[in-house]
């Protein structure tokens, strides 16, 4: 998190706000509810209280306006900048403006006023943007239901105002730390020469031309995917990435979702008792895709779109040295990379043995 320059904050805990006008996009009562709820979010983790005024000057003056609206910081039409707020202070300090050119909603479509208002009030209380993806104070909008603050947001606001002595809240889970020695992965796949590593609600993107892996919320890039994924693999012949979560699977072509999905994983020929896939990897030389679940794996023939006979087989027997279960797997030039807990096993597919074992996050330059 970041606090504003010189830690600007309100000198007292009893703040006032006033809604100067309303957006025609929503019912007046819904706007009032969204604003009140947004203040309540911050009040739940600090000793701050927010009282609404219906006239006069409040600490935080709230308005909807388009383009040039008299503060020398014009809005830019639909999308782009959604709203802005001034750091604590007299006069314009704390004031929060929403771009009327956006379509404001109380749902998940377009821009949810409650979420944007909560972010902006973070600024109005003295927080700057956080570089932690998934935090409310991250500078790009993304929709997610439930309590919007992450541990990072709470740490930031409590540095300024301290905690709320009367309430405990459950923050959103933190973004994973790439150099955490205990880091494990949910799924890994190649995607047109990039490597995508899924972990909780996030994914890292490793691109040969990017010096550092980039962490993003899955939902920000693919809103139609589930919150978390179990397994993924790339079939480069079909230019397709298949993503598994529970008993369903989705497909990507590049970064675009392929129509006709999700499908049930049982369409592949898996028995109904299989309820999730732990890891998946495609071997281009054989045209087979290996699907790992619990202590067994299946082999799927991509050319005939059928499950090979003689499966499932025990992972431990066919891939000696990697243990009984697998979290994620990728294949590169005759080598399979298996990930389990915080370990990465480099396994020679040709000589059928483990060549080396390193930390899982060595793939993230840790």
């Amino acid at each position: 998190y970041n606090v504003s320059p010189r830690k600007l904050k309100w000198p007292n805990n009893n703040l006032t706000f006033r809604i100067e006008n309303f957006t025609p996009d929503m019912k007046k009562a819904d706007v009032e509810r969204a604003i009140r709820q947004a203040f309540n979010v911050w009040a739940s983790v600090t000793p701050l209280t927010f009282k609404r005024l219906h006239s006069g000057i409040a600490d935080i003056m709230i308005s909807f306006a388009a383009r040039d609206h008299g503060d020398f910081n014009s809005f830019d039409g639909p999308n782009g900048l959604l709203a802005h707020a001034y750091a604590p202070g007299k006069g314009i300090g704390g004031d929060t403006h929403f771009d009327e050119d956006e379509n404001w909603t109380k749902e998940s479509n377009d821009y949810n006023l409650f979420l944007v208002a909560t972010h902006e009030f973070g600024h109005a209380l003295g927080l700057e943007h956080s570089r932690e993806a998934g935090s409310l104070m991250f500078p790009t909008y993304s929709y997610s239901p439930g309590f919007p603050l992450s541990e990072d947001d709470i740490d930031g606001i409590q540095e300024l105002y301290g905690p709320n002595p009367n309430r405990k809240v459950k923050p959103k889970p933190d973004a994973p730390k790439k150099c955490d020695p205990m880091l494990s992965f949910d799924a890994i796949t190649e995607l047109r020469g990039e490597t995508i590593l899924f972990k909780d609600r996030f994914y890292w993107r490793i691109h040969p031309q990017m010096p550092e892996p980039e962490l993003t919320l899955i939902r920000s890039t693919w809103p139609a995917l589930p919150k978390e994924v179990d397994a993924a693999y790339e079939n480069s012949d079909k230019d397709m990435v298949v993503i598994f979560s529970g008993i369903k699977m989705w497909a990507l072509s590049g970064y675009d979702m392929v129509e006709g999905y999700p499908k049930y994983i049982h369409k592949l020929g898996l028995p109904k008792k299989v309820r999730e896939i732990d890891a998946a990897v495609h071997i281009p030389e054989t045209g087979k895709t290996l699907l790992f679940t619990d202590e067994q794996y299946w082999s799927y023939d991509e050319r005939t779109s059928t499950m090979d006979v003689g499966f499932p087989r025990a992972i431990e027997l066919d891939f000696p040295g990697i243990g009984k279960e697998v979290d994620a797997a990728v294949y590169d030039s005759g080598t399979l990379y298996f990930f389990h807990d915080y370990m990465r096993f480099e396994y020679s597919y040709r000589s059928r043995k483990v060549i080396s074992i390193v930390r899982a996050n060595s793939i993230l330059n840790c």
Binding site: D71, S74, G80, H84, A85, V116, E128, Y141, E214, Y255
Partner: protein, 77 residues
């Protein structure tokens, strides 16, 4: 998707600088399109320092931001 520049940290620092000295209020960007608000403020700053006015956070602009300032009123306060 396009490869982002490796200037995330620099952008955050520039945002802080511009909010402190050029009254740039912190805001939230939409999911679909970037905004030219930061660009406008950068142009203002580059014009003030007689830099080449590009609206981009180039090395010269960023280096100027790092220089100590003296006797300049703090707009933010």
């Amino acid at each position: 998707v396009p490869i982002p520049g490796d200037e995330t940290d620099e952008r955050l620092q520039a945002e802080k600088y511009l909010s402190r000295f050029y009254n740039l209020p912190a805001g939230l960007l939409g999911a679909r399109k970037s905004s030219d608000v930061l660009q406008t403020k950068l142009k203002e700053m580059q014009a003030f320092f007689n830099l080449k006015v590009t609206g981009k956070l180039d090395a010269e602009t960023f280096d100027t931001m790092k220089l100590p300032r003296c006797g300049v009123p703090d707009v933010g306060e």
